[in-house]
Symmetry: C2
Subunit: 228 residues, 2 copies
């Protein structure tokens, strides 16, 4: 013990070995720090997700998160610039799942009409199963859809772009009577309206929302696929 690390002259092989070992120890230490840092960030995120699911966006307070993860509230600011940045991180995760859900729904369907139907149903189902997330995404913070520049905006509403593409394949779309974006707006508004009501108005329960979804999709698809 207490073996003092000797100073070595440059070029000395043992010095080289020692310096590489030092570098490796240093790298390992940094990696350890980075991992711990990442873990804390993730524990913040999971606590925030829990609070969001339990009590909505209002329940996601810095102090509540801190209390849940056993840290001081100010610690969160070492990982997120402010509460908005944290909510945005939550929203990014929610949008990722949203995109995945709609994507698989669109893939499994055959044809544009079936695709629209599948995506519409998946849209409302997502809202029903993640009401707090949906409200944060499209009701409480719709500004986030357009935040942080158009490149990221595209990724967020890419699912809606897919919807527009499908709508463009409809006879109405091909005839130029109703271009894809207009039809997509209508479809989006329809499912969003149902989702917003279902997640906000107590009397609009799940069964009612699903019936309305099916009916709305049938009516709109029929209209888009019917010549004037």
């Amino acid at each position: 013990m207490a073996r003092p690390r000797a100073r070595h002259a440059p070029g000395d092989s043992s010095a080289l070995a020692a310096s590489t070992r030092d570098a490796r120890v240093k790298a390992a230490s940094q990696a350890r720090r980075a991992r711990r840092r990442q873990q804390l960030r993730e524990s913040i995120m999971t606590a925030a997700q829990e609070l969001l699911g339990e009590g909505g966006a209002e329940a996601v307070t810095m102090r509540a998160i801190a209390e849940r993860i056993g840290y001081s509230a100010t610690t969160i600011y070492l990982h997120f610039e402010d509460r908005d940045a944290l909510l945005f991180a939550l929203l990014d995760e929610a949008f990722a799942e949203f995109r995945a859900v709609l994507g698989t729904a669109a893939e499994e369907a055959e044809g544009a009409a079936a695709g629209i139907r599948a995506m519409g149903r998946a849209y409302v189902r997502f809202a029903l199963e993640h009401p707090a997330q949906y409200r944060l995404m499209f009701v409480q913070r719709p500004d986030y859809l357009l935040a942080h520049g158009p490149e990221e905006t595209g990724a967020r509403i890419e699912s809606l772009g897919a919807l527009a593409a499908l709508a463009g394949e409809s006879p109405a779309g091909r005839a130029g009577r109703s271009d894809g974006t207009l039809a997509a707006d209508v479809l989006w508004a329809a499912v969003h309206g149902i989702a917003a009501l279902a997640t906000g108005v107590a009397m609009f329960d799940r069964a009612r929302a699903e019936r309305a979804t099916d009916e709305a999709l049938e009516l709109l698809i029929k209209g888009l696929w019917t010549a004037e």
Copy 2:
């Protein structure tokens, strides 16, 4: 001056005159007080309406109202139980105008389909012209739709009941294929979706909202008025 009011024995005619005059003075004083009270309540309401229109519901702050009307914030509590009660009062006014707008739209139209079209357009127009009110009514505080017992609830969404009645007159409704409430849900969700997006997402501007409204109404009405 300084004429002492003499005490009168009961039955004395001058006493009777004096007492009635006293009563009238008292009543006038009470009325004055009541009027002043009512005026203050109304000034609170107008200040709150202004703040709502200027900065949304978040801007409707007790202290901001107080500063605007030249009173202390706690004075508001002499006229409203709490902030929720004040917002509810704002909402009541908004719902009254909403009901009027939709009512006249429905009256002026002839036939169920035209009525639905007119109400739908009026619905979105109301949202576009009173975005803060609309968001408070249907987006931020949808719980108010069902608050305070079913009797008041009915008055609030009576317009939607009229919509359901019109929808029930459609061929689809008469055939029992799609009862009125289901069709009304679909119609309501469609216009609400457009209104919510138009008042929340910046890129969803007025022209886009109106085009989507017309298209959605045409498609849905066509679907409801077309046999299977």
